[in-house]
C-alpha cells in the first residue's frame, strides 16, 4: 500500500509532543511525595480536570480507528456505544454510586469490595482486573505498532519500544498525575487533530443532510430497523442493545472499571467527583461527530466512483480501520498530517498510561499490600508503585509480541470486558443497594458470573453450542453475541449472589455504614446554587441524549 508520507514539519510536531509529555513527567515528579500523590494524584483535581481525564482514559486511538471503521461497516448503530451505551451509566455513577465510592475514601474498586464484603472478593477482582488491564494494554500496544507500520511504514519494534519507554518514564516519575495531564493534552489533540476531517468531509459532500441522503436507511437510522436483526448491519435487536450494551456492558464498564473511575477518585471533593462523569457525558455524546460522521463520510465517498476514495484491502478483506487514516491522507496537507498522526499517537500512549496507572494501583494496594506486605509504609508503597509501573509496561510489551504472533486476539477485546466487568456490575449493584447481600454470596456469585461468561465464549468459539442459544436469534453478529453474553453473565452473577446470600452469614449493619444505601447518611455539603449541582447537569445531559436518539431514530 501507499504509506502516508511525513515531512520534516510533521516530524517536528510529533517530536514536540514527545518533549511535552516527557517534560511534564519530570516537572510533576517534584510534586509526587507520597503514595496518595502517585496513585490518586493527591486528590486535588477540579471537576473539569477529573471529568476530561475520566473521558480521555476511555478515548484510545484504537477506539477512534475501530469505531470509525465500524461505522463504515455497521452504520449509525455504532453511535449506540456513545449514547445509550455510555450516558445513562455515567450519570448513574455520578448521582448514585459516587457518594459511596468517594465518601468511603477507597483507593480502588477492589478496595470497596474489601470494605463491603471481604478480602477474598477483593483479591479475586484485583487479580482479574490486573490480568485484564495488562492484556488490554499489550493488545493496544500491538495495535499501535500495527497502525504505525501499516500507514506510516514505521518499524514494529522501534514503535513499540519507543512508546512503551516514554509511557514508562512519565508514569514512573509521577504516576496518575502525569497520566491525567497527558490524557487531557491527548483530549485536545484528538479534537483539534481529527475534527477537521469531519468539517472538510461535510464541505466536500455538501451538507450533513446530504451524507444521510446518500446512504441506505439501514445505515442511517438508530432504532427504526432494530425490531428485525436482519434489517440492520449489526444484526442485533433493540433488546440486545438495551439489555446487553445499554445496561450490562455499559454500566459494567463506566461504573466499575477502575481505569475510568480512578480519574473521578482524584477529584478534590465529593461534588467535583460527582460532576466529573457528568461533564464527561457531554463530550462523550459529542464524539460521534468525529467517529460516526467520519465513518459515514468514508462510506459516501467510497460509493462515489469519481471521488477516488477507497479503503485499504488486506488481500480480499477490507481494512475498515483504514477509514480515518485514509481521510487524513485525503484532506490534510503538511503540518496537519503531523497533527493528525500525533493525535492518534497521543491516543495510543494515553490509553497505555491509563491502563498502567490503574494496574499499578490495583497491584500495589489490592494484591501486594493486601496479600504480600500488609505493613508496608507510604514510602514503600510509592516505591512499589514505580516498580509495578515498569513491570506492567514490560508485561504489556511481552503481551504485544504474543498478540503479534496471534493477530486474531484483537477480535476478543470486547469479549474480555464481558468476562470481568459485566458480572462485577451485578456484585456492585447488589452490594451498594441491598444490605443483606453476604460476602460469600458476592464471592461465589462473582466467580460464577466470570466463569460463565468465559465458558459461553469458549462454547460458541469451539461450536460446543449454537450461538443462537445465547442471542435468542438465528441471525446475530459477533458484536450481538458479546452484548447477550454480557447480559447472561450479569444475570447469573445477580441471581446466584442473591440465592447464596439467603443461606450464608451476613455482616452486621454497623459494619456497613457508609457503604450501603439506607445505612448511609445522605452527605449534605454546603448548599450550592442549582447551576453547580450534578443532578441539574445530569438532567440536561439526559435531555440531550433523548433528543439525539429521537432525531436520528
Amino acid at each position: 500500500m501507499e504509506e502516508i508520507g511525513l515531512t520534516f514539519i510533521d516530524w517536528l510536531i510529533i517530536l514536540i509532543y514527545f518533549v511535552f509529555v516527557l517534560g511534564i513527567g519530570f516537572y510533576l515528579k517534584r510534586y509526587t511525595e507520597n503514595d496518595e500523590d502517585f496513585f490518586l494524584a493527591g486528590r486535588k483535581n477540579s471537576s473539569w480536570v477529573a471529568g476530561l481525564a475520566f473521558l480521555s482514559a476511555n478515548l484510545g486511538a484504537l477506539e477512534l480507528l475501530g469505531m470509525t471503521g465500524n461505522t463504515f461497516k455497521y452504520g449509525m448503530y455504532v453511535a449506540h456505544f456513545y449514547w445509550i451505551g455510555a450516558i445513562p451509566a455515567m450519570l448513574f455513577l455520578a448521582i448514585y454510586m459516587m457518594p459511596f465510592y468517594y465518601s468511603s475514601r477507597i483507593k480502588s474498586i477492589p478496595g470497596y469490595l474489601k470494605l463491603r464484603f471481604d478480602e477474598k472478593t477483593r483479591v479475586l477482582n484485583g487479580i482479574a482486573f490486573a490480568f485484564m488491564t495488562v492484556l488490554v494494554s499489550g493488545i493496544n500496544l500491538y495495535a499501535m505498532a500495527l497502525v504505525l507500520h501499516t500507514f506510516l511504514g514505521w518499524n514494529w519494534d522501534v514503535s513499540m519500544w519507543a512508546s512503551a519507554a516514554t509511557v514508562a518514564v512519565y508514569v514512573t516519575l509521577s504516576g496518575l498525575m502525569s497520566a491525567i495531564f497527558t490524557e487531557i493534552i491527548q483530549f485536545f489533540l484528538i479534537w483539534f487533530g481529527l475534527f477537521l476531517v469531519t468539517v472538510l468531509g461535510i464541505v466536500e459532500i455538501g451538507s450533513l443532510q446530504e451524507i444521510f441522503n446518500r446512504i441506505p436507511e439501514a445505515y442511517s437510522s438508530l432504532w427504526s430497523t432494530s425490531t428485525d436483526p436482519s434489517e440492520n448491519g449489526m444484526m442485533v435487536t433493540w433488546a440486545g442493545i438495551v439489555l446487553g450494551l445499554g445496561f450490562v456492558l455499559s454500566f459494567g464498564y463506566w461504573t466499575t472499571d477502575f481505569l475510568v473511575v480512578q480519574r473521578a477518585f482524584s477529584a478534590k471533593d465529593l461534588r467535583s467527583a460527582r460532576m466529573a462523569p457528568v461533564i464527561a457525558s457531554f463530550f462523550k455524546m459529542a464524539l460521534p461527530f468525529i467517529v460516526i460522521i467520519g465513518g459515514l463520510i468514508a462510506l459516501v465517498l467510497s460509493q462515489d466512483a469519481n471521488s477516488g476514495f477507497a479503503l485499504l484491502r488486506d488481500g480480499d478483506k477490507i481494512n475498515y480501520d483504514s477509514a480515518l487514516p485514509m481521510l487524513i491522507a485525503r484532506y490534510y496537507p503538511t503540518g496537519l498530517v503531523g497533527l493528525g498522526v500525533t493525535a492518534l499517537l497521543a491516543g495510543f500512549m494515553a490509553g497505555q498510561a491509563g491502563n498502567i496507572s490503574a494496574f499499578n494501583t490495583v497491584w500495589t494496594y489490592d494484591i501486594y499490600h493486601s496479600v504480600i506486605k500488609r505493613d508496608a509504609s507510604s514510602a514503600h508503597l510509592l516505591w512499589m508503585g514505580r516498580v509495578a509501573t515498569v513491570g506492567g509496561i514490560l508485561l504489556s510489551v511481552v503481551t504485544a509480541y504474543w498478540a503479534k504472533s496471534m493477530p486474531t486476539i484483537m477480535d476478543y477485546m470486547q469479549a474480555i470486558f464481558s468476562w470481568v466487568n459485566a458480572p462485577l456490575f451485578a456484585t456492585m449493584l447488589l452490594g451498594m443497594f441491598v444490605r443483606w447481600i453476604t460476602p460469600n454470596g458476592a464471592f461465589w456469585g462473582l466467580l460464577a458470573g466470570m466463569g460463565s461468561s468465559f465458558g459461553m465464549f469458549l462454547a460458541v468459539k469451539f461450536d460446543w453450542i449454537d450461538k443462537s442459544l445465547i442471542t435468542m436469534s438465528e441471525v446475530a453478529s459477533d458484536m450481538a453475541a458479546n452484548f447477550w453474553r454480557a447480559w447472561w453473565a450479569w444475570l447469573i452473577c445477580f441471581v446466584l449472589t442473591i440465592v447464596i446470600s439467603l443461606f450464608t452469614k451476613k455482616r452486621s449493619e454497623k459494619e456497613l455504614v457508609g457503604l450501603v444505601k439506607g445505612l448511609t447518611e445522605e452527605t449534605v455539603g454546603k448548599p450550592v446554587p442549582l447551576m453547580k449541582k450534578p443532578e441539574f447537569w445530569g438532567i440536561i445531559s439526559l435531555v440531550i441524549l433523548v433528543v439525539l436518539n429521537v432525531y436520528f431514530w
Binding site: 514536540i16 511535552f20 511534564i24 483535581n45 489533540l189 497533527l339
Partner: protein, 81 residues
C-alpha cells in the same frame, strides 16, 4: 490541577495552552509558506487552505488558555496572600 499547593504547581491548562500555541504556530506558518510556494502537495479542498485557518484557530485557543490560566493563577496567589 490546582495552583494552591505549597510549590505552586502549574495547572494542566498552562501546558494545554502552550501545546496548542506551539503546534498552531507551526501549522499556520506552514500554511502561509505553501500559500506562496508553487510546490504544494496535492490534497482535496486544498484551495480552502485548512492549514492556515485551523492553525490560526489553534493558536488563538492556545493564547486564550494561557491568558485565563495566568489570570486564575494571579487570583489564587492574591487569595493565598
Amino acid at each position: 490541577m490546582t495552583t494552591e499547593t505549597k510549590k505552586e504547581m502549574r495547572t494542566i491548562w498552562y501546558f494545554v495552552g502552550w501545546m496548542l500555541l506551539v503546534v498552531g504556530v507551526i501549522i499556520f506558518l506552514t500554511g502561509i509558506y505553501y500559500l506562496i510556494s508553487p510546490a504544494r502537495p496535492e490534497t482535496v479542498l486544498q484551495n480552502l487552505h485548512p492549514d492556515i485557518w485551523w492553525g490560526a484557530i489553534m493558536l488563538v485557543v492556545g493564547i486564550l488558555f494561557l491568558f485565563f490560566d495566568n489570570k486564575m493563577t494571579q487570583k489564587n496567589l492574591r487569595q493565598n496572600g
